[in-house]
Symmetry: C2
């Protein structure tokens, strides 16, 4: 039984948004809904218009024989500001003060809805980088990185803090944590990442940048091109990090252990959004 | 400017599917789209009908003053079978044979699209359990568990293999891994999980069930009620596990190290689906 436009448009919207960054041929829609190509094109034009007007992401049409349509889950500037402002508000709760100038943020990092939104924020920022893989470091980097990878439709590769025998041949490097100056090891299985890939590194937290520097060094071992490095929270101090180019969302200005005060703010590129 | 039905229905579909299990009041739609309650109700009836017919999940209406509508991302039986059959096919690739009867499955576990689907499979199975939290064990359990948590709109709590000083007061227990009989430690911060919560445990792999047993014991320390335990892959041997009640998706029958053959099959409840 054929569907009416209002019905078909529900199903097409669902299929598009379930498959971020995936090129879907118009034939798939014409066959599934027994509709003419021109009809589906009209449906897509309506969806495209609504998404654009309501800032719900973009619908991109690729013409030609290998063409089709794809959904790009970008966030509007206002939504990005609101998401990050909400993160700042939640992070500034004084109950989060931990010893050593750290703050408790595990609950936020494992909040699936928040991470889904943060994933879309990074995906909006990194939309044009044409990366092949998202790279992170276990454990706390994984939820954010997985959601960035989901939004960009890319595979995720997680670096481990120890080498495990169960993953075949492994590349390990030592690195010095920037803040506590301890020597640690990080490892990645050879088979996990093809050489000369284009990668985006995602992590939850950056203080001095020692771990980030280690990840860059490890990526060099895989001849990977690191096109950006995204962190959820960076600390204002030390000002000079061990890595130069990165994109943070939130800056942790100060943790006053005596007054139990946490000062956080959106990073400058977020503040400059309209 | 008011929207036409075909436009409004795109936006309503997007809002519903972006917010699994979240009750959204009809007022939110009437205000945002400047439409009468009866108009929005008609929109929702159309969306409900299409989702049901196309097996794209359920739209549930809750009546009353505190009522509204919510999207439940359940998968149809046919889709579940297809997703799990695809996992079995990918897992049976002989390149995955690792020493010790293990198989390499890290790439699948960090495949965001696959994990999103697996998350919805578990969410379909566990839809009526009314859990408060999803619990997992770092590292490889996190991607699956995060996607289950996302589909059920629940917070995720990740047990750690070591206690970290940065999370305040911590409960640690020792457990014996069922297969290698080694004594290991797992820990969870007190603040991460309120006492007497209803929880679902999710993990990637179960052999003898030692880790799962450890997680059950740790949950007992938090007075939690474990309503189910979901694992992506269980091994056929040993047949008797250290835990009784669990739900697996895939059974690893045999890994022949000499012939480099992997035999995997969907678990029985999946095979019995129509």
């Amino acid at each position: 039984m054929k569907m009416r436009r209002s019905e078909r448009i529900v199903a097409v919207t669902k299929i598009l948004t379930d498959n971020p960054y995936k090129l879907i041929s118009l034939n798939r829609f014409t066959e599934r809904f027994d509709a003419a190509k021109s009809t589906i094109s009209e449906d897509l034009a309506i969806i495209k218009g609504v998404f654009s007007k309501e800032k719900m992401g973009r619908v991109e049409t690729v013409s030609g024989a290998a063409g089709g349509v794809r959904f790009i889950p970008s966030k509007g500037e206002g939504d990005i500001k609101e998401i990050i402002r909400d993160v700042c508000k939640r992070l500034s709760n004084s109950d989060r003060v931990l010893p050593g100038g750290y703050i408790y943020m595990t609950d936020l990092i494992f909040d699936p809805e928040l991470m889904s939104n943060i994933g879309k924020v990074f995906a909006t920022k990194f939309a044009d980088l044409e990366a092949d893989y998202i790279i992170t470091m276990e454990t706390k980097g994984i939820p954010i990185a997985l959601m960035v990878a989901r939004a960009l439709n890319l595979p995720l590769v997680s670096i481990r803090r120890n080498s495990r025998v169960t993953e075949g041949s492994v590349v390990s490097i030592n690195y010095v944590t920037g803040s506590s100056q301890k020597i640690e090891t990080m490892s990645l299985a050879r088979r996990a990442l093809p050489e000369e890939s284009k990668v985006i590194i995602i992590d939850d937290f950056m203080k001095a940048g020692g771990t980030a520097k280690g990840m860059l060094d490890l990526m060099a071992e895989f001849k990977a091109e690191v096109v950006d490095l995204g962190v959820l929270v960076e600390t204002a101090n030390p000002k000079d990090k061990l890595v130069d180019d990165y994109t943070s969302l939130v800056i942790l200005e100060e943790v006053d252990k005596v007054k139990r005060e946490i000062v956080v703010k959106p990073s400058s590129w977020i503040q400059e959004l309209n």
